[in-house]
C-alpha cells in the first residue's frame, strides 16, 4: 500500500487500491453475510435439536428393536418401539401419491412444453400454481369429508373412515404441480435444435417428445420426481387428517395407517413431558424423516445442477 504522496514520484506505479479502507462498507457486507449465514445456522439448529434427544433415545431403546420390530406404540403400556409400521405407512402413501402424480404431472408437463401454444401455457401454468398454493389442511379436509366417502361408495373392497388410499391419492394431487412445473422447466431447457433434428429425420411429434425431449431432460425430470417423493414423505396434515392415527403394519390400503410425519404431529401436539422416552421418540422419528428427505433433496439438487450444465 503506497502512501498518497509517494504516488506522485515518477517511475513508481500508482496503486489503484483505495487509500483508506471504507469501514462502513465492510460493516454492511458483514451484516449481510450474517443474514446469509443464518440459513446455515438453521440447518445446524435442526441437526442439534434432533441429535441430543435421539442419542438419549437410543441409549434406552436398542437400535435393533427400533429398526426391526414391527410393533409401534410408544404411548401405550407396555410401550413398543418398532418404527417399521411408520416407515411402511409412509412408503405406501407416498407410493400411491407417486403413482398419481408422476403420470399426470409428466403428461401435463409434456403438453405444456411441447404441444400447448404460448397463450394456452400462459393460462394453465398459473392455474397449476393455484393448486400448489392451497394449504395442505384444506386438502386434508377435502380428503376426509369428500374423497373418502366417494372411495367408500365406489371401491369394491372395504375402506375405513381413515385410510391410506385416500391420503395417498390426495397427496398425489397435491404434488402434481411440483412434478409438472419442474419437469416442464427441464424440457423447456432442451435446445430446439434437437427437436428440429428429430423432425428433419421424419419423426412425429409424439416420437420427438418421447424419444428425444424426454431423454434429454431426463435428469431434470428425475430431480422433479425425487423432490415430489420427498414432499410426499414429509407431508403431514393430509396424512394426519385422512390417514388416521393408528400405527398399522399392513399392506391393506383400506386400513388406517400412521406415517412418520403424522406420528410426529400427533405426539408433538399432545402433552408429552420433556425428557421422557416418549418425548425423545418424537425426535428419533424426526431424525429418520430428516435424514430421508435430506438425502433425497441432496440427490435432486445435484441432478438439477448437472442437467443445467449440459445445455448452458
Amino acid at each position: 500500500m503506497a502512501a498518497p504522496h509517494n504516488a506522485t514520484v515518477p517511475g513508481t506505479p500508482q496503486s489503484l487500491a483505495r487509500s483508506r479502507p471504507r469501514y462502513g462498507e465492510q460493516a454492511i457486507k458483514a451484516v449481510l453475510m450474517v443474514a446469509a449465514l443464518l440459513s446455515v445456522a438453521t440447518t445446524i439448529g435442526i441437526v442439534v435439536s434432533l441429535l441430543e434427544p435421539t442419542i438419549s433415545f437410543f441409549g434406552e431403546i436398542s437400535a435393533v428393536e427400533f429398526f426391526t420390530s414391527t410393533s409401534w406404540g410408544p404411548l401405550f403400556e407396555p410401550p413398543h418401539y418398532g418404527v417399521l409400521p411408520l416407515v411402511s405407512a409412509t412408503l405406501i402413501t407416498t407410493g400411491i401419491a407417486i403413482v398419481v402424480a408422476v403420470p399426470l404431472g409428466l403428461g401435463a408437463a409434456i403438453y405444456l412444453s411441447e404441444y400447448a401454444k404460448p397463450k394456452v401455457r400462459k393460462v394453465f401454468k398459473p392455474m397449476l400454481e393455484v393448486l400448489a398454493g392451497i394449504p395442505t389442511v384444506v386438502f386434508g379436509f377435502f380428503a376426509l369429508t369428500f374423497v373418502t366417502p366417494l372411495l367408500r361408495s365406489i371401491m369394491p373392497f372395504e375402506i375405513e373412515i381413515f385410510n391410506a388410499l385416500c391420503a395417498g391419492l390426495v397427496v398425489g394431487f397435491m404434488i402434481i404441480p411440483i412434478v409438472a412445473s419442474l419437469s416442464e422447466d427441464a424440457m423447456a431447457a432442451v435446445p430446439n435444435g434437437l427437436r428440429e433434428g428429430s423432425y428433419a429425420l421424419g419423426a412425429s411429434k409424439m416420437t420427438t417428445s418421447l424419444r428425444v425431449v424426454l431423454p434429454a431432460a431426463f435428469s431434470g425430470i428425475v430431480a422433479a420426481v425425487i423432490l415430489a417423493i420427498s414432499r410426499g414423505v414429509g407431508e403431514t396434515m393430509i396424512v394426519f387428517i385422512a390417514g388416521g392415527g393408528q400405527p398399522n403394519f399392513t399392506l391393506d390400503v383400506g386400513k388406517a395407517m400412521q406415517t412418520m410425519a403424522a406420528f410426529i404431529a400427533q405426539a408433538g401436539s399432545g402433552d408429552v413431558p420433556v425428557g421422557t422416552t416418549e418425548y425423545n421418540t418424537i425426535f428419533a422419528v424426526g431424525s429418520l424423516l430428516f435424514v430421508m428427505t435430506f438425502a433425497m433433496n441432496f440427490v435432486s439438487v445435484r441432478l438439477v445442477r448437472r442437467f443445467r450444465e449440459v445445455y448452458e
Binding site: 462502513g24 435439536s49 434432533l50 384444506v138 379436509f141 410425519a261 425426535f283 433433496n297
Partner: protein, 296 residues
C-alpha cells in the same frame, strides 16, 4: 419388398405414423392436465358449497366453542394469524433480502463457504415443515425459553419460508442488468450506494412479489404449529408477542377433528376465509408484478 431390408427403426421414422396414435397421445396429455384441474375445481367448489351456510359475521365476531357449533367463531384464530404473520414478515423479509443481497452482490462464488451457503439454502427449501416444528420445539421454545407463544410461532415460520424469500429475492436482483451497476460504480458510487440507490429500487417489485408468496405459504402452514402449542383451546385474542395463540389453519384442523357435522361446516367456512385471504395476497402479488415489472 426391397424396402424391408432397411433397418426397422428407419422404417418407423420414415412412415407417416398412425395419426390415431398421435391423436391418442395428445388426448392423453390434455386429459392429465384436465384431471388435475377437475380435482382443483371439485375441491374449491366443495369447500365453498359446504361452508356457505355458515359464512357470516359469527365466524369473525365469535370465539371458538367446543360445545356448540352454532355460536362458535374463529376470531381468536383470525387475529392470531394476523399477529403471527406480521411478526413472521418483520423477521424473515429483512433477513431474507439481506441474505439475497449478500449472495447476489457480494459473495465470491469461488469461495467454498459461499457455495456451502447456496447448497444449504437449496436443501433447506426441501426439508418437511414438520421438521421445522421440531426445531421450534427443541431450540426456540425450550432452549431459548420463548415457550409456546406468538414469537416462537413467528420465528419458526420465518425460518421455514426464509429459503423462499432468499431464492425469490435473488432472482429479482439478478434481473437487474449489470450495466446499471457499472454505470453507478463508474460515477464513483460505492458498492453499497450502488445497491441501495440503484439495484434495490429496481428490484423491489420482484422482491415484493416473492415476499408475498412466501408469506402466503406461511399463512397456510399448520404442521409445525401443531407442535408449538397452537392446538390448545384459545378463547382470547393475543395481546403481545409472548401471549398464547392459535391460527386459522390450526383452528380448521381442530374443527375437522370434531366428529359432529356442524363443526365440519364451520371448518369449511373458515377454509373459505383462509382461501379469500390467500387470494387477496396473491392478487396483490400478481398486480405488483404486472404493474411495476421493468423490462430491461
Amino acid at each position: 419388398m426391397a424396402v424391408l431390408s432397411t433397418p426397422r427403426s428407419a422404417v418407423q421414422l420414415a412412415s407417416k405414423g398412425t395419426p390415431v396414435r398421435e391423436h391418442l397421445f395428445r388426448t392423453l396429455l390434455i386429459a392429465s392436465l384436465v384431471v388435475a384441474f377437475i380435482f382443483m375445481v371439485a375441491l374449491l367448489s366443495y369447500v365453498f358449497v359446504e361452508g356457505w351456510p355458515r359464512l357470516d359475521s359469527r365466524l369473525w365476531e365469535n370465539m371458538p366453542s367446543i360445545r356448540n357449533p352454532d355460536i362458535a367463531g374463529a376470531q381468536s384464530a383470525i387475529t392470531g394469524t394476523l399477529w403471527v404473520i406480521s411478526l413472521t414478515g418483520l423477521f424473515t423479509l429483512p433477513t431474507g433480502i439481506a441474505a439475497a443481497i449478500y449472495l447476489e452482490e457480494y459473495a465470491d462464488k469461488t469461495r467454498w463457504y459461499n457455495r456451502v451457503i447456496e447448497l444449504n439454502i437449496q436443501n433447506l427449501a426441501g426439508i418437511p415443515s414438520i421438521v421445522y416444528g421440531i426445531l421450534g420445539l427443541g431450540i426456540i421454545a425450550r432452549t431459548l425459553g420463548l415457550g409456546f407463544s406468538v414469537i416462537t410461532a413467528s420465528l419458526t415460520l420465518g425460518l421455514l419460508v426464509l429459503p423462499i424469500v432468499i431464492i425469490a429475492s435473488r432472482e429479482a436482483l439478478r434481473a437487474v442488468p449489470p450495466s446499471i451497476r457499472e454505470g453507478s460504480l463508474a460515477l464513483g458510487a460505492t458498492q453499497w450506494q450502488t445497491i441501495s440507490r440503484q439495484v434495490l429500487p429496481a428490484s423491489i417489485p420482484g422482491i415484493a412479489t416473492g415476499s408475498i408468496l412466501a408469506l402466503s405459504r406461511a399463512i397456510g402452514e399448520a404442521a409445525p404449529l401443531l407442535m408449538l402449542g397452537a392446538v390448545s383451546f384459545i378463547r382470547f385474542n393475543p395481546d403481545g408477542i409472548f401471549a398464547s395463540y392459535t391460527v386459522l389453519p390450526i383452528q380448521i384442523f381442530n374443527w375437522i377433528s370434531q366428529s359432529r357435522e356442524g363443526f365440519h361446516v364451520l371448518a369449511a367456512a373458515a377454509i373459505v376465509v383462509l382461501l379469500v385471504i390467500l387470494l387477496l395476497m396473491n392478487s396483490v402479488a400478481i398486480w405488483l408484478r404486472n404493474r411495476y415489472q421493468k423490462r430491461w
